[in-house]
């Protein structure tokens, strides 16, 4: 082989690898050529009568134990069944199957059976948009459920808006970006989450005897975590300008001693860990997601450094627990955990029992329902509450009902506010790893029994 072909192959390989890498790093989207698999869940035959269903958001639909009859109500959506987001999307897949099964076991929706069709968007936003176009225009589904992941939700919402569909969604993180009047978020963190979330975290830490006075930020440049740590320079719509944990910290009197950013997909945290240890702040604030936290903690342990206090934005709960002693005392925010007071919320017990069983069957490592499952279940509760509330499938009427009625969910009561882009109060609580398990520890009146926020050990 002479030099020219080598260079040609080299250029091709570099181009191919860079395209893949760029896709993987760009908001987590991967050019994955996996099949456009579809997964049709037809639970309409599964009509065993059971006892009354307490978890239905609205039970005024007559006899809940009656077998559903008539043409099925079709609900469609996409999920990242393959690709970089698949590990988390699997949670939403399980929740959807369980919720639809539960609906059909308890009389269906408006007395009709429910048919749920999920398509694989391969963790790609453009693919997700194309699939919602297909679901609405070709499959002519009656209702849609949002996909998983900020990028896919944002893209699919535009399609829903084009056709006027009610669009419940569970995990979008860029609150300010959603102005569609019929979108209904169930990651119920409030429009100004870049202000309220960090304020909540720092207020919780201020209750400690050894409250932190200095803070180091380590932030994934993923849009959602970037928004929460650095806020926005200009307000958009009803969004307040400013905010972000870094600015909120200073406003609340904490000294920011170091801010370090890293790219999505970073696996080596040695250098960052060294700088965190060198800064030695009272509080380590990790604006990361997934396994960023556990990976950073492992690197810190290699440095023989234990953070005195540590907060993680959206960690995978299982890997955080598996990180061992170095994660003890770590905090995060949550909207659902498998204990009181959440289990007493509408559908909390059903979610816990059904999800745990299904997750075990699916072979998931961490089988407790928490924020992701809670957001997902609530999205289904919102959709069915709207349909049962207006007793119709008309999207304008469903949206109108949702905007004018409180909705009981596993997270608590939702009240959507039009003047806040259909967000409401920030209802997150603070959870903490204590004795090798997650517990809700703040605010006090929502803390798990016998638990309170702990300081450094």
């Amino acid at each position: 082989m002479n030099g020219r072909p080598v260079r040609r192959w080299a250029a091709m390989a570099v181009a191919l690898s860079m395209v893949l890498a760029a896709c993987a790093d760009d908001d987590g989207e991967v050019a994955d050529d996996a099949d456009d698999g579809t997964e049709d869940t037809d639970d309409t035959d599964d009509t065993d009568d059971t006892d009354g269903d307490d978890s239905d958001a609205d039970d005024d639909d007559g006899d809940a134990s009656a077998e559903p009859e008539g043409d099925p109500i079709t609900i469609g959506g996409s999920l990242a069944l393959t690709g970089i987001f698949a590990s988390t999307a699997e949670i939403h897949d399980i929740v959807a199957d369980e919720y639809v099964e539960m609906l059909n076991e308890n009389g269906g929706l408006l007395g009709r059976p429910v048919e749920w069709t999920v398509l694989d968007d391969e963790s790609e936003a453009d693919q997700s948009a194309a699939l919602y176009e297909r679901l609405i225009t070709q499959d002519e589904v009656d209702l849609v459920m949002g996909p998983y992941g900020t990028g896919s939700i944002t893209a699919a919402m535009q399609v829903a808006e084009r056709y006027g569909y009610v669009f419940p969604h569970h995990t979008a993180s860029l609150t300010y970006a959603y102005t569609y009047e019929k979108h209904f978020p169930t990651w119920f963190v409030g429009l100004n989450t870049h202000q309220t979330t960090p304020r909540k975290v720092f207020e919780a830490y201020q209750t400690l005897d050894d409250a932190p006075e200095t803070v180091t930020f380590v932030t994934n440049r993923f849009p959602g975590t970037d928004f929460l740590v650095y806020g926005v320079d200009e307000g958009e719509g009803a969004l307040e300008a400013g905010g972000g944990a870094a600015r909120v910290a200073e406003d609340m009197g904490l000294e920011v001693v170091e801010t370090l950013d890293f790219d999505t997909g970073t696996t080596d945290f040695s250098g960052i860990a060294g700088r965190v240890a060198e800064a030695d702040a009272d509080l380590l604030y990790v604006g990361g997601l997934g396994v960023d936290g556990p990976n950073l903690l492992a690197a810190l342990e290699q440095q023989d450094y234990q953070p005195r206090h540590q907060f993680h934005q959206w960690p995978s709960p299982g890997p955080m627990l598996a990180a061992g002693d170095v994660a003890d005392g770590a905090t995060s925010v949550t909207i659902f955990e498998p204990f009181e007071p959440y289990l007493s919320n509408e559908g909390g017990q059903e979610l816990y029992e059904r999800y745990t069983s299904a997750a075990e069957e699916a072979g998931l490592d961490y089988t407790n329902p928490e924020t992701q499952a809670g957001a997902s279940w609530a999205a289904w509760q919102v959709l069915t509450a709207g349909v049962e509330g207006c007793e119709c499938l008309d999207h304008d009427e469903i949206a109108d009902w949702l905007l004018n009625n409180p909705i009981e969910t596993v997270q608590g009561t939702f009240e959507y506010r039009e003047d806040e882009q259909n967000y409401g109060d920030d209802i997150q609580t603070i959870k903490q790893i204590q004795d090798g398990e997650w517990y809700v520890v703040w605010p006090d009146d929502q803390a798990s029994e016998g638990r309170e926020m702990r300081g450094s050990s």
């Binding site: 082989m1 030099g3 072909p5 080598v6 260079r7 192959w9 080299a10 091709m12 390989a13 570099v14 191919l16 690898s17 860079m18 893949l20 890498a21 993987a24 790093d25 991967v30 994955d32 996996a34 099949d35 069944l81 393959t82 690709g83 970089i84 698949a86 590990s87 699997e90 440049r221 370090l260 950013d261 890293f262 790219d263 970073t266 696996t267 080596d268 040695s270 250098g271 960052i272 060294g274 700088r275 997934g290 396994v291 556990p294 492992a298 690197a299 342990e301 290699q302 440095q303 023989d304 995978s316 299982g318 890997p319 598996a322 061992g324 170095v326 699916a362 072979g363 998931l364 490592d365």
Partner: protein, 293 residues
């Protein structure tokens, strides 16, 4: 001074991981004319095997190399037999192995699901432990991979330079007809190289199985940097692979320590582009071209 030494040590350790990952790909591309995209799948499959044996079988994860190395070698041999049997050209190997890559990804998703898989901390002491030399601390896993890389790369270099197998392979790549006339059995020798390349994938997989939370797509974040190491290193040049891995590891380490850590990977790829503009053949020469001179 300590910070500088620490940065240097981290860069060297990263280079070890990149070297062991890239050497098999470089050998296959440079000597067998196989751009083996499935190398990444072999690595990930080995990582899952390490996970499985450790998490469910209770093995010390490092000892799983007794399974992953032969497994990788077999996969390498199988691919080489396939390529030889069907006479697939170099461009064809890129397409075929990319297809294999996707098939492996789907297969691993079916077997282990998309859920995160990580060896529990109590079974994987290497993940959180460090090699301590005075004030310098280096990840034990990266240190292990550096030793593996040194042994492997120097071993392959010695094989290619100082054994009949190596001379035969180089002669065939340089002048196939002449080599065949002198009795060089390329098919057999190619299997040796393919087996070695696959074995390095097994080794790498064991390291990554201890290092990462596994998902069927996690390997994609390594593609760019590994190809960068291969191209900068000069094809099939084990010393070049170590050299280019050192350059890239050092650029990343220095960027993470003294600049914005988020720019570390970008900085490494910028170095690759600049280097290829001025030296399209890579920072180091191809081993076979050295033989030609």
């Amino acid at each position: 001074m300590t910070v500088l030494l620490q940065t240097l040590a981290t860069g060297v350790a990263l280079a070890g991981l990149y070297s062991i990952f890239a050497i098999g790909l470089s050998l296959g591309w440079g000597l067998l004319h196989t751009i083996n995209f499935a190398h990444f799948s072999f690595v990930l499959l080995s990582a899952y095997v390490t996970y499985e044996l450790s998490a469910t079988g209770g093995w010390d994860p490092l000892t799983t190399i007794v399974v992953t190395v032969p497994l990788g070698a077999l996969l390498g041999l199988g691919l080489q037999l396939f390529v030889t049997t069907f006479k697939i050209d170099v461009f064809g190997t890129l397409i075929v192995t990319f297809g294999l890559f996707l098939m492996f990804e789907a297969g691993m998703a079916m077997q282990w699901s998309a859920d995160l898989r990580r060896i529990p901390a109590e079974l994987n002491p290497y993940f959180t432990s460090a090699l301590v030399i005075g004030p310098i601390r280096v990840s034990m896993l990266l240190a292990i991979s550096t030793v593996m890389a040194l042994v492997t790369c120097l071993g392959v270099w010695w094989l290619l330079q100082h054994t009949a197998t190596g001379r035969g392979i180089r002669a065939f790549v340089q002048e196939p007809e002449m080599a065949a006339a002198f009795g060089v059995n390329y098919r057999s020798l190619a299997l040796v190289i393919a087996g070695i390349g696959g074995a390095t994938a097994g080794l790498t997989g064991t390291v990554l199985g201890m290092y990462l939370s596994l998902t069927p797509t996690i390997i994609e974040v390594w593609i760019a940097v590994v190809f960068a190491v291969v191209l900068l290193g000069g094809l099939a040049n084990p010393i070049g692979v170590m050299g280019s891995a050192f350059v890239i590891g050092m650029v990343e380490s220095v960027t993470r320590q003294f600049a914005d850590p988020a720019l570390a990977r970008l900085a490494a790829l910028v170095v690759l582009i600049i280097a290829l503009v001025f030296r399209p053949e890579g920072l180091f020469k191809r081993l076979v071209e050295e033989a030609r001179e």
